[in-house]
Symmetry: C2
């Protein structure tokens, strides 16, 4: 039996710590003050634990079924109730413009709600997740007609959305994609095969709107010749369009989410945005998708932690090492007393809190970058988002996977059985390191693109924020030791960043060989920044002080030092990788 | 479709590197020279890839079924053929004494054969694995009558064996176990419930011989009051004994292996060894079981590596970063050219080779400790085995799990599907960090027991071996840089070991908080020792030189430096763990 307690208090704490008051002062968000936010989060937490979670295990066990005769896909029982509750309570259009039926909520609250919904049922919550992304893309690049036609139905959850990028020979390398689109009156006819299409076919909604990447005749090769099209399952006249599910993937986890092969045979589609500029549309969807993929590590890390903690408080094995901690009259102590169990729980909890903070930091900056009246503020916010997104995606999922595995370890054999809760979380989470751009693609985005942008401006903006947090922490006895450690880590990261840049000038393969390790090191610094910000807030507000300082202390003492290993690897020659003889693999 | 190529050449190389010639000179093993060893390994490799592997996926999909009416357990189709082949080819009694029908092979060859059998089908190979352990326990502590009665049937695979330790409230803490044994004429009557009994019930063999831990009336509390008993499924007169399977666990992986709840209701049992000295018997079985559990990381790391490499050679995505490495006339290069793919493959391959070497090093020392005429040699060998077993078990499974996950990452989305091969390996392997004593229990065994034994003698014996390998490497230009790096790591480990010992004197919880991290650091040094030994052998024998030196270089440049992170954690205060307030978890 799976359980989940929404971490509302920590979310409220972190909203304050990461400047939600600034977000709620923005003109479109004036209705979303802290008090409203709490009510909303509580409602979402209840939905996650009482409506979504009960079908989570069913989804895993029942999976999805594809009917080869009709192409229809059957979803797990119980998911329909979850979908309806999500639709009726506005989660499909939560952060969408109110002009077209959306809820108009800040992304910041959208992110926190997503964390809870994914904790409750990751597979099902991917359906509104994809739909949210489609809405954002249409808001940015759709024509007025398209907006009026699609947005209200998507925001209400009557229709749902997908992203159709990947093809059998074109995954990481989108430039290879070969689906074609030919002009046909006011629309286009698309043909090709798409794979890995999440929620590509199902019966939960009246219609499914696919955003499809394809090539126009004579389009340039590579990613500069990609256009995006709206391809609905049902055409405006109610007839079936030429797009159909022709198979499902069988996966290690997220069994409840249908992962479809979609075949397009002259499917009618409508161009979104300009021809050959499809990557712009996709990047709108991908930025949000990468943030939320990183958040999967927080979501499943959180619920796995809760399961492990609950087990650790009940299970009795062996005596405490310190005699004073032994419980009299018992043959064994609860395992929460054992230092190694505490170590694992604290590793998980501290990094989960750190990454939750990062998700809020990014989201608040998305809101600021979109709506703040001051251009300088918008630009800083935009820089921070661009730099942090690949770290959130890759480090969030890498650490999250380790965290769920550690939570399983706390539970011993029970954690490995399907009677326990955690083995599903481990299976469900593993894909997050792969999809929405593998973690290495994120690392290349960080190193090869984001660090270079505007002559290193993004890194400088981030560095300033870290130094601000350090300065704020230095004046207080409780936080000063953390400030010193983060300062040292930042200086080391500065040096490693410069040293790598120099080495890369001489050998283009340096970045490929080192980017993933570099991102992990950067991720640890970012987690340190996140926790220091939280510790500063705990001290200045007098809220949750003992717990936050305890977690932060643990992170700086026993987690952040991992970074020494990553730095040592980055300082070593990389030629053992790039010059290894192919025949010797 | 799963594939496996037995790594015979590397095994032969490593047998020479780790002194198999000494083993084959021992009196009982004179028939097992290197040439015979190769024939045997080749035969085993064929069995693993052609007989065991074909049913590996079936076992995963079909699982095991328990019939509540009869208590019988149905095994996957295809397993019977595998079991028969294993039995007919002598794998159930491979290393057992020839006096009682065993094959008399050195443990060293047993270990290499186990690696391959587990690569082929981990679930099925656990059946001979447990039986091997039971044979060893009976050889050591069984009466002559017991030996004659059980050993020949176990060695032939007509009967199979189990270890019945765990009970619902007694897992890690065996002292809590409560199964009772009461004297009843020449035998005992046992009652209680055992869980997690691997291959506890099945129809593959004519009889199942359970080795059961239980308490005699009035036995001392804790582990000093445990005795071991033989409890057969069928009694000598052919009637059914009072032990039955009353349920199966449902697990994340190893679906093909029946994990049974066994209920004993007045089951007839025969004491093995002395009353209340059952832990001695168990340690015989556990030592071997821990070595082979660590080996799971090598087995599945190896086959996952093969799958990932094969994918990386076929899959084309994106262009090589170095222009000179781009393949003309192709839209994209094979992903083997991408530095991050190479990094992951080399991380996996170098640590897999290192841990294979460790398994051979341990096994050869087991053979020496048992059969060498010189007592000083036997003692050194015994010390090395005792020190290395917890490292092999814990670091082998920890690194193996990371390796299989990295192999999955190489394959991207394909690695996550059940069409790929790797997702099963990841699920099958995760339990290895938990069973046979959780990895933290291994760490406590290392730190709290093995380091302290004989005033630190084990560590000194190991240190001498490492320094010998370093000395041998210093004279050669190719290996001298590795020697310098390993020397530095060993000096650091020496210091950390002493520093931890000092801190532990003041606070008993230091060891608990640090043991797992310490074991990981120690594991890296051991891997360095293993690869340096292999590099030395490559140079001195002129065999496989480029490949081994390349792997060793990669390990010392880009894997061993991880140790800096572990050392930095160990140097930090541990009180953030032990003094964290319980209410704040």
């Amino acid at each position: 039996m799976q359980h989940y307690t929404a971490p509302i208090d920590d979310m409220m704490f972190q909203l304050s710590a990461f400047g939600y008051d600034e977000v709620s002062k923005l003109e479109p968000f004036e209705a979303f003050d802290l008090e409203t936010a709490r009510m909303f989060l509580e409602q979402t937490g209840t939905l996650a634990s009482e409506v979504l979670l009960p079908s989570n295990r069913d989804g895993d066990k029942e999976g999805t079924q594809w009917d080869p005769q009709t192409g229809e896909v059957t979803i797990a029982s119980g998911y329909e109730a979850g979908h309806k509750a999500l639709a009726e309570n506005g989660y499909y259009g939560l952060t969408a413009d109110m002009e077209h039926g959306g809820g108009g909520a800040p992304i910041t609250l959208g992110t926190l709600s997503k964390e809870m919904l994914m904790s409750g049922n990751k597979s099902l919550s991917m359906c509104p997740g994809l739909t949210n992304g489609l809405i954002e893309a249409l808001e940015a690049f759709g024509s007025d007609e398209q907006k009026e036609m699609y947005l209200p139905k998507l925001a209400s959850g009557e229709w749902t959305g997908t992203m159709c990028l990947t093809e059998p020979h074109s995954g990481t390398d989108l430039g290879l994609l070969s689906t074609t689109a030919e002009e046909h009156g006011d629309h286009y006819k698309l043909s090709g095969t798409k794979i890995w299409i999440t929620w590509g076919e199902h019966g939960l909604s009246e219609n499914i709107i696919h955003l499809v990447l394809a090539r126009l005749p004579g389009a340039p090769a590579g990613i500069k010749g990609i256009s995006t099209f709206i391809v609905p399952k049902f055409l405006p006249d109610g007839s079936r369009n030429g797009i159909a599910c022709t198979g499902l993937e069988h996966k290690m986890g997220i069994h409840g989410s249908p992962t479809c092969v979609m075949s397009l045979e002259g499917a009618e589609g409508w161009l979104v945005g300009e021809p050959n500029k499809g990557m712009r549309t996709m990047f709108i969807m991908m930025n949000a998708a990468r943030l939320f993929t990183g958040l999967e590590g927080v979501s499943l890390g959180e619920i796995a932690y809760q399961a492990a903690l609950s087990f650790a408080k009940e299970r009795r094995q062996s005596r405490a090492m310190a005699r004073s901690k032994r419980e009299e009259g018992q043959a064994a102590d609860t395992i929460l007393v054992h230092p190694d169990v505490r170590r694992m729980l604290l590793d998980v909890k501290s990094t989960t809190h750190a990454l939750r903070g990062l998700s809020i930091f990014i989201s608040a900056n998305i809101d600021l970058s979109t709506h703040h009246p001051d251009e300088a503020v918008r630009q800083d916010a935009d820089d921070l988002v661009a730099l942090m997104i690949p770290i959130m995606k890759a480090y969030g999922t890498e650490r999250g996977f380790k965290n769920v595995s550690d939570a399983m370890q706390v539970c011993g054999g029970m954690g490995y059985t399907t009677d326990g809760e955690i083995e599903q979380y481990l299976r469900d989470l593993r894909i997050a390191m792969i999809y929405e751009g593998t973690n290495h693609i994120q690392a290349l985005d960080l190193v090869g693109r984001k660090l270079a942008l505007h002559d290193g401006r993004l890194y400088r903006v981030f560095g300033k924020r870290v130094r601000d947090a350090i300065a704020a922490a230095q004046g207080n006895e409780a936080t000063a030791p953390f400030a010193a450690k983060l300062g040292e880590a930042l200086r080391d990261l500065d040096q490693v960043t410069m040293a790598l840049g120099k080495r890369a000038a001489g050998d283009p393969e340096v970045m490929g060989a080192s980017a993933s390790t570099y991102l992990t090191a950067f991720g640890l610094v970012v987690c340190g920044f996140s926790l220091l910000t939280q510790a500063n807030h705990a001290v200045s507000s007098g809220t949750d002080e003992r717990a936050k300082l305890g977690l932060t202390r643990h992170f700086f003492n026993r987690v952040l030092p991992e970074i020494e290993g990553h730095f040592a690897i980055l300082a070593s020659p990389h030629e053992s990788i790039t010059q290894f003889d192919d025949a010797d693999f």
